[in-house]
Amino acid sequence: MRHLSEGTLRRLYDEPYAVEDTARSHYRSCQRCQRRFRAVADDARHAQATMAATPVPVDAHTALGRVRSRLGERERPRFVPLWGLGWRRPALVGATAAILAAGLSVTAFTPLGSDLVNIFQPTRESTVTIAQGDLTGLDAFSSWGTVTWAARPELQQVDSAAQAAQLSGLPAIRVSPGTLPASVAGAPVSYAAMRQATGTVTFTSKAPAQLQGSTLQVRLGPAETVVYGDLGKVGAAAHGAGTANGATENGIPAQGGSDESLSQGRGALRAAGPLLGIVVMDAPRASSTGVSVAQIKQALLAQPGLSPAVRQYISSLDDPAGNLPIPIPAGQVNAHPVRVQGVTGTAIGDNTGLGSGVVWIAKGKVYAVAGTLTEDQVLAIANGLGA
């Protein structure tokens, strides 16, 4: 038998009977392993002495009362745990970039002026293929300004489509039951909604000179969602994916992220079982004071470290053929135009066949339907939607 690993020797110190009989038997007859064990045990004793702490007596019942009280003071938002499905960090960075980029996508350009001017309201979505490394050059933007939220984006879980509609002010999402595949038709259904969020970016002295002092106001939502699937399983699967490499998961601070987050997200989806999500939201809007699109574009493009893909993207932001960017991971996902609800939308599919989705914009609203389904199934659901 091979010599015992350091890990096995360490466990032998703490939990000898948790170690296999064969390992214990080897240990008894191997002087080398016994010698190594002494070093392991010595370090363990040192750690034990160093880490020793007086037990902390706690009054859990009183603490529970305090927690209840703090929970009661809150609005009781319910965050649907869909964020932990891998590809989260890049997606967030991409979204940040998209919001900044929103300032560039001018549909009603107005030159310098002191009033808040509507400069962005997308009318078509378009995909932007971005590799993970492309996002690195965008980090500098986060230091350009301070962000204040008049109303933060908070997704709250509610009990029905009607409640989601009431909270968001949008028409209730109505799914045509005949379009639901059997795999999701019997799944638990949950609903969530978000009121409109309004944030203001004030460009500070850290921003390029031409932007300093101006502001960019971004309005997100309102939005509503319907999810078919067991969110408990999603949470558990996402937890597994997140903890597998120590990546940040569901808001838990952890050590640095991982390049494997996308594949782990897929693993989480597979483990979660059938899943279908539908989102309807008012198209995001951005307004600006005192800065022109040309200035913002110039400032963005002057930054070092931007990849060619990001440069091309910034340069074409005011393209009338598509000005709501949807970042998609290079080489992992394919996208192509489709007809949905009488307009042109974008179908997005995972190259592994794991899932697909469709996004479209109509009458000032962004719609998305996605799930662990085929493109045909997703399109049928999308075309049957009423909202």
Partner: protein, 186 residues
């Protein structure tokens, strides 16, 4: 054609309730079962009972907002959140202390306690300095294990097998010893 989707079953999705009613049993049970251990984990890192309890309550509130109280991964989630939140606070606190010391222009404040208390504080300072310098992974496995969690529980919190816990613990203890020796030999 257009039909209201099947009704959500709130009890199945979030038994902690969403209508201003008292918390139902699952969250209470989870809290009472795990609160002491979550405090112990945070205290092992912070060596400050009040701050450890503050971390524990934040962690439970965060969990309540995001997950079902009866989720099978709940204890592991709480343990993991506690150790990382506490380590983050420890690092922030050390940065703040360094800044304050630099501004004050001197070292540690003069001890007001007897000799034993001075030694205790010095030991605590050494340990916290070492934990703050260790890689997060190493500090986390030490804090979890020395808070009384079994190999299986530590593995669940860190997302690794119980077998891997031994390997991580061994490396972490070796690294801790080197850090402490380095600090005391300066």
């Amino acid at each position: 054609m257009n039909a209201e989707p099947a009704e959500l079953t709130p009890g199945g999705e979030d038994p902690t309730g969403d209508h201003g009613e008292p918390e139902p049993a699952p969250f209470d049970r989870l809290f009472l079962a795990e609160y002491g251990r979550v405090v112990a984990i945070a205290n092992r890192v912070l060596a400050d009972r009040a701050e450890a309890e503050d971390v524990a309550q934040e962690v439970f509130i965060d969990f309540h907002r995001r997950h079902r109280a009866d989720a099978p991964y709940a204890p592991a989630w709480l343990h993991r959140a506690a150790v990382h939140t506490a380590l983050n606070r420890l690092r922030s606190r050390r940065r703040r202390e360094r800044r304050e010391r630099a501004q004050a222009g001197d070292g540690d404040p003069a001890p007001l306690d007897p000799e034993q208390e001075v030694e205790r504080r010095e030991d605590r300072r050494l340990l916290q300095a070492a934990l703050a310098r260790l890689p997060e992974r190493a500090a986390a496995v030490l804090a979890l294990r020395y808070s009384g969690l079994s190999y299986v529980e530590v593995g669940a919190a860190l997302g690794v097998s119980a077998g891997q816990v031994g390997t991580r613990l061994r490396r972490a203890e070796h690294a801790l010893r080197k850090e402490v020796n380095r600090a005391t030999s300066v």
